[in-house]
Amino acid sequence: MRGGSLWQLGQSITRRLAQADKKTIARRHFSADADLKKTVLYDFHVANGAKMVPFAGWSMPIQYKDSIMESTLNCRQNGSLFDVSHMCGLSLMGKDCITFLEKLVIADVAGLAPGTGTLTVFTNEQGGAIDDSVITKVKDDHIYLVVNAGCRDKDLAHIEEHMKSYTAKGGDVSWHIHDERSLLALQGPLAAQVLQHLTKDDLSKLYFGGFRILDINGASCFLTRTGYTGEDGFEISVPSEHAVDLAKAILEKSEGKVRLTGLGARDSLRLEAALCLYGNDMEQHVTPVEAGLTWAIGKRRRAEGGFLGAEKILKQLEEGPPIRRVGFFSSGPPARSHSKVYNEQGNPIGEITSGGFSPCLKRNIAMGYVKSGLHKAGTKVKIEVRGKAYDGNITKMPFVPSKYYKPS
């Protein structure tokens, strides 16, 4: 997935193409483009001026007519509508589905109230992250979760393998992959009032992490109050035949204030909110403790373990992790993933995993990993970009304050 990071994607549509072996690249793009999957909103995107790029095997809008800067700002000021149908929605069903899922993730799934969810991590035997995912307990025998598009095959194979041995031992769990549905993310301060126009359910009682199955614009939807921008907002799983109508209705009800927004601004927004991009900020060898997701390990799970890699993760909780995810501000050009981080004496202490220019803060922000002990906010560092060292410092995250809708 490293190759799939957004700014690198951006590069594929810029001039670097012209500098490389043109024939090879043209051929590769040709064959890749032909195989790309399209969401049901593809024509809608194109009609709205989207620039489509390959992303995790899908042809997705990286931006529309608004620049990434404008889109990012508008999301925080008004709202954004994203097509995230490339992500994989999945239901686990059966009376043992919770016990089953708890073997694979760090969350206290049993402890979730019905109709609520959380961000979690699928771990491997070594305690590293296979993927991050938002999981929801619909009810005791139904879990709904969404995994990353780029991890779909790997995640499904992983779940299936464990499900086979679990059911062979008599466990009651089965799955349904929601390929009949599309996923829209509506984010920003206007999200709730716009969506309220399209449903009779009272959204003011649905808080961050909450989930409902309800009628929106005449279609039965799965609604989760969550997102990937740091703003209040929703992810709406809608039957695919109703997806275009719903997208149009949302834009219309907002009177043009909620704008179609592509993956480019989505990356800026999630970076400002210090949310991890799997494949950049989180990988097979990085544990949830190192990634700063200790909060997502349920209390009961810390005491009991019982998930893959628990031994290593619980040990890290006790002794502290060797490296930690931190935020950076820096001068000079924006630091990008793989930029090396040094202390003031010039010794290597870590690496950047995501970085860019923050449209809201108008300065360079980045996330990365440094050795424990050197992770305190205010620590001065040097960040290497194209052979030159630039001044930076470690800072608290998120970079832009989150505005999740929580009970007051």
Binding site: W7, G10, I13, R15, V46, A47, G49, S67, M69, P334
Partner: protein
């Protein structure tokens, strides 16, 4: 350029069709162009270098321009700096070889000049050319326009 865009989108909304603004990138007659999307304006053995409207449009909002030091030598086709946008990083290649005699310091405080005025205020470096014959290897405006159309149609 701005007025052309406005015209294009008005006409398009009148005709109810969607417009890719990218298709309307401007190209200046008297400049020469490299296939890595830099332009050069030649005056005797002095050359002013920048990136094209097409390039800035693909990059999006430019947030940083990495400039070389005055006195550095640059080589035709080799990178001498970089442009950073919100979306991407892109090398800037020298369309001609020679010595850098001036850099556009304005870009340190206003990198977005590359977007708003790619052919004038957003110039990047001035070079004293080693060999003016190198210019012959570059494209003229018509060739470059065709080149961009072909490149865009691949995506």
């Amino acid at each position: 350029m701005a007025s052309r865009l406005l015209w294009a989108s008005r006409a398009a909304s009148h005709l109810r069709i969607s417009v890719f603004h990218r298709g309307f990138s401007s190209v200046i007659k008297d400049l020469k162009y490299a296939d890595s999307h830099e332009w050069v304006k030649v005056d005797g053995n002095s050359a002013t270098v920048g990136i094209t409207d097409h390039a800035q449009d693909h990059l999006g909002d430019v947030v940083y321009v990495e400039l070389p030091d005055v006195g550095t030598t640059v080589k035709q086709g080799a990178s001498f700096g970089a442009v950073e946008s919100v979306k991407a990083t892109s090398d800037i290649n020298a369309p001609v070889s020679g010595k850098v005699v001036e850099v556009n310091e304005e870009l340190n405080s206003s990198p977005a000049l590359v977007n708003s005025s790619p052919y004038t205020d957003g110039w990047i470096i001035k070079v004293e050319m080693d060999n003016t014959g190198e210019v012959k290897k570059l494209m003229d405006a018509d060739q470059y326009t065709t080149f961009c159309e072909e490149e865009d149609s691949k995506h």
